[in-house]
């Protein structure tokens, strides 16, 4: 068992007086607004993630997709609106309570965000040293297991700089997995990868969903990956979710920006 904090913890969930979402909804955003100075990035985003599902948020570059998922882990706080994760208001938590919440969420950053002063092994060891009281053997086993899960079991002694972009992303994913999260947020998991690696990473996301029952939200503009991953797709444009449903439903949406997005992609794949 992971022994995160030995301190006594109040068990009362923080709800801020609103009604929490039903039990099977693990993440919910309600009417989230966020502006940076004059720039209004999110203008009322609402989104739900069912337990055990993998959701995809589509949208062009610079539409605020990253901003959206950063709210879920509390890296950003909404100007207005509510962020629910596992029945608690993440936007109202802070300090240790927020950190406890974060431990059940894995986050895969765009470039992997591996600590480049440490080897791959030390990157994961660092997480385990801080958050568990396992013996060295148990830690080594856990690291070997996640490295195997991403099919890179021989990369332990290497430094991040020695890895390719795709490998770095997979190691970043392994590092996110090592603390056994219930939810994983993928920030552009396949951007900048060749089509083979895209498939590898996308299949990996599915495997994690099926084998470990990990719910996930991926943000991407890569339709190939989206087609593999998606249980539920949403399209973010002009700071709002303008279309949602299955990928097919989103594809046939009437919204001009959605049509432009899919039309552009189709024209590209026809070449």
């Amino acid at each position: 068992m992971l022994d995160f904090f030995s301190k006594e913890v109040s068990t009362e969930p923080v709800t801020g007086g609103s009604t929490p979402p039903p039990e099977n909804i693990i993440v919910e955003l309600r009417d989230v607004h966020k502006a940076f100075g004059e720039l209004r990035v999110l203008r009322g985003v609402s989104l739900q993630l069912e337990r055990g599902n993998s959701a995809v948020v589509l949208g062009g570059s610079g539409t605020g997709k990253s901003v959206l998922i950063k709210h879920i882990v509390g890296l950003l706080a909404p100007d207005k609106g509510e962020v629910w994760v596992k029945g608690q208001r993440t936007d109202l938590l802070d300090g240790d309570a927020l950190d406890r919440q974060r431990l059940s969420i894995g986050y895969l950053f765009q470039g992997g965000a591996l600590f480049d002063s440490m080897t791959v092994y030390e990157n994961m060891r660092f997480y385990l040293d801080r958050h568990t009281k396992w013996s060295k053997g148990e830690k080594d086993d856990a690291i070997a297991e996640v490295l195997e899960a991403v099919n890179l079991d021989d990369k332990g002694p290497q430094f991040p700089a020695e890895l390719s972009g795709g490998q770095r992303k997979r190691i970043g994913l392994a590092r996110a997995l090592v603390l056994k999260p219930e939810i994983i947020l993928y920030d552009e998991p396949t951007t900048g990868l060749d089509p083979v690696s895209v498939r590898v990473v996308a299949d990996l996301i599915l495997k994690l969903r099926d084998e470990r029952n990990i719910s996930s939200i991926s943000i991407t503009h890569d339709l190939l990956a989206a087609a593999i991953i998606t249980d539920h797709a949403s399209f973010l444009a002009e700071g709002k979710i303008v279309a949602s449903g299955t990928l097919e439903e989103v594809r046939h949406s009437e919204h001009p920006l959605v049509r432009e997005f899919f039309h552009g992609s189709e024209a590209y794949s026809a070449v």
Binding site: K70, D99, R102, F109, G111, A113, F115, D116, R130, H131
Partner: protein, 307 residues
């Protein structure tokens, strides 16, 4: 703009000309309300609106003070990153030692060579050791060590934290509940505060040795005479206060560099700028703080003449 054209008012004139007249009148009225604001309010507004140098300066200074406040709120709380602090001390101390010792040695030798002639003209050559020890221990040693370290560490810290920021490594620490502020900022600042005085003492010793070597070579001075002369009128408080003031300089270097690195936005260009600004700003603040510290210490402890 919307309300001007709203059609919901019952007495809204129908024709466009009178409507436009009404709008003009309303806009003028609002302009007048704006003018009715007090002078200070208007100045404040103008200040906030303008993106001028002063605004930028106040904005930055405020953010820096917030960062300092954050440091004092957190550094005495768990988790204590002892191992990482020792790593950073190693970085500040042993890895900077070659640089500071070379600076110290050359300053000692050069100071001795330069002062000898001047003192000889007054027939005061015997005061050379004493003059050396005072100028080195009280001013040149602490300030020069701090400035050299500010150059080495300021750039290093700001660039390291800056690139961690732009590659999202700091966010990754935050998201994994690893408290990056403790791990990155507190450790570095504490390492600087502790190690700056240590490095200063070493530099002082090496600089005085340099001075002695010069004296020994040019006048065959015995080391007992040199040491005896050098510390004859030196008080304990002279050594301690002027050495410990480098802790303040260390704090300045640590906190300024961490602040600039931690708040980098953008890409590699901004990282480079942060590194440069860290060196410039911490050097300036060191010199400024020196003036204040010396003034205060003179008020409390008096000067060597006993006043």
């Amino acid at each position: 703009m919307e309300p001007f054209l709203s059609e919901t008012d019952s007495d809204t004139p129908r024709d466009s000309l009178s409507r436009r007249l009404r709008d003009v009148r309303r806009v003028r009225q609002e302009g007048k309300i704006l003018q009715d604001k007090s002078f200070s309010e208007r100045t404040m507004e103008r200040l906030l609106r303008s993106q001028g140098v002063l605004y930028h300066f106040l904005d930055q200074a405020g953010a820096l003070f917030m960062f300092v406040g954050e440091f004092f709120r957190r550094f005495w709380r768990r988790p204590f990153e002892v191992k990482e602090t020792i790593n950073q001390m190693d970085e500040v101390g042993s890895k900077s030692f070659l640089l500071t010792s070379v600076v110290g040695l050359s300053i000692g030798v050069v100071l001795a060579m330069q002062s000898r002639g001047t003192l000889a003209r007054f027939g005061a050559e015997a005061f050379l050791p004493s003059m050396l020890s005072f100028s080195i221990i009280k001013e040149i040693g602490p300030v020069l060590t701090s400035l050299v370290l500010a150059g080495r560490l300021g750039a290093g810290i700001a660039a390291e934290l800056g690139s961690m920021k732009v590659t999202e490594q700091i966010d990754a620490l935050e998201v994994a509940a690893l408290k990056p502020f403790h791990y990155l900022v507190v450790t570095r600042v504490i390492a600087c505060v502790v190690m700056f005085p240590v490095m200063t003492i070493l530099t002082d010793v090496i600089a005085l040795s340099g001075g002695f070597i010069e004296s020994a070579l040019s006048t065959d001075m015995d080391y007992r005479v040199f040491v005896g002369e050098a510390f004859k009128t030196m008080r304990f408080v002279d050594v301690t206060v002027d050495t410990m003031k480098t802790s303040i300089f260390g704090f300045i270097v640590g906190i300024v560099s961490c602040y600039l690195g931690y708040n980098v936005r953008g890409g590699t260009r901004e990282v480079g700028q942060a590194a440069m600004q860290a060196v410039v700003l911490s050097s300036l603040l060191i010199l400024l703080a020196d003036v204040v510290v010396v003034r205060v210490s003179l008020m409390i402890f008096g000067d060597v003449s006993g006043q």
